[in-house]
Symmetry: C2
Subunit: 357 residues, 2 copies
Amino acid sequence: MTNYCIIMAGGVGSRFWPYSTTQCPKQFLDFFGTGRSLLQTTFDRIAHIMPVENIYIVSNKNYREQILEQLPELKPEQILLEPMRRNTAPCIAYAVYKIKKKTSDANILVVPSDHLITNELAFLDVVKEGLEFVDTNDAILTLGIKPTRPETGYGYIQLGKGNGATRKVKTFTEKPNLELAKVFVDSGEFYWNAGIFLWSLNTIVNAFNTYLPDIANKFEAFTPYYDTPEEAQLLNEVYATCQNISIDYGVMEKAQNVYVRMSEFGWSDLGTWSSYYELANKDQDGNAIVSGQTLLYNNKNNIIVLPKGHLAVIDGLEGYLITQRGNTLLICPKDAESKMRQYAKDVAELPNSKDFQ
Amino acid sequence: MTNYCIIMAGGVGSRFWPYSTTQCPKQFLDFFGTGRSLLQTTFDRIAHIMPVENIYIVSNKNYREQILEQLPELKPEQILLEPMRRNTAPCIAYAVYKIKKKTSDANILVVPSDHLITNELAFLDVVKEGLEFVDTNDAILTLGIKPTRPETGYGYIQLGKGNGATRKVKTFTEKPNLELAKVFVDSGEFYWNAGIFLWSLNTIVNAFNTYLPDIANKFEAFTPYYDTPEEAQLLNEVYATCQNISIDYGVMEKAQNVYVRMSEFGWSDLGTWSSYYELANKDQDGNAIVSGQTLLYNNKNNIIVLPKGHLAVIDGLEGYLITQRGNTLLICPKDAESKMRQYAKDVAELPNSKDFQ
């Protein structure tokens, strides 16, 4: 059984602006003060169960330097650089057909690079079992996370037939409203979609051929150019005409052989500062200090993110996010989720926006 | 009538930390975004009524570079550098005896370098009149500011006998409590002590001889060394053994010929952020932006001080001071006057305090 992993590291999220920026998105940041970024942590985790040379990173060409710097153990051919954003289906196809050039028989794990997993042993056990499952079944397997709250920011997977921990998928539902999310959670029949997929090479190639034939044909035809001097240039042309579509919409919601493994391993997509705050280490007053040094007086339940070597003296704030990067400071209520993109957008519209993060 | 001015620029205040620091105290900062520091503004003001070469700056030797940079029109002999802090009496004596070496007949204006005066014409009129007064009277003259509120942070001067705008001084009272300050203001008999003095050379030399003979003798004896290569070295010895005493306590409160000129010229000692806030330009929501660029959402009555070229995006703060300098950020209620020194002190006690402002 030969296992590969595709780590998707192309995110450019602005929800953590200005801590994360287009120049240095979330996956490259050390959110938990461990000394390792989310990408590095993801890589370290996977390296426990498969050879390092079988782990591929797919990201945007702009992040080449960061990836090389953060994961110097990677060979150049393990870093797949997309010339533009085309959502997850082309991203996965690019890596899948590269693996297909190397081998005719493999099992593949696909994981996002910027999620948090607190129980790594449980995760690895589930993944190992999942790789065996797709090795012996023509199955597309997705990991479903047992929901702990009626989260409206996640997609949900409805369990279908079966008895064990792995079931057929009945439906996928994108971000429900709160009422519906409550019904989902109470029913016990719905699991969070963590965006983690497992399949054999044959299964996913068949799925691309069936449900996304244009993408399949493009990357099949591109096969001779992997790891050649022409790769970057020709890939440009492939992507320019490539459909922009997610693997969820393009494959998962259409294929008949989709399964979900019910899982619990302390998962969060770290999609918002609030979701980060839930998981962060906090002082006795509930302040989560991500980075930098602080002197705190009369503060409660804040998140503080400072540049390395910086100090903040803060008195009398409750429930705020205080985050600085370079010459840009943001202070706002930490639950102002919906406004955080707006701030970044408003800054981008300043006449001198280029001066800032 | 030959007029001289002594600008006292030795302050090291920590009440505006970290905007002002020991390395760059208040007098060197541009609080009002005019492009000129408080010291430069003070100098510009005085230069309207006397020759530039008659304006002396007394400061600490650590600030030589800043003074030369901010006032390049000064000749080296106009910058008097104290080797250590000995309060205002030695500071003034140092400059007075230097003037005495040059001339036997002069009138001298002494002003702090870090106060705000909003009605400069009124100030200059009062000063011109005052210089004439001390030219023709053996009088120590201090400017008293008509109080506009029961300020407990200022000293008060009680008016004595007389009819015009210039009266004998009856008493000096240092920072009263609020109750007493209210009585003072209501009485109409008490004026704020602005620390601005006028006297003739003879009058102040006589006063030093009478009330501070040790200091008088030291600087009299030092006279041959002014503007010589030995000045700095020998001054070191003078200061090391010099009494640490204010001109108020050493001379003003003891002399019999002390007068006060009742004045109104929009004066503030800018002793606290609150006193700054009263005078600052504010946006329609009451936010005073001292420096830097801002994007503000739902904010009221804040003071924001950022490094040049920095941006702050702030949402939902009311009544705060947000100030950053270098790698140090302070966020606190803007009326937390008494705590601001504490913050600076606590930072100074950090094991790695040298890393910060």
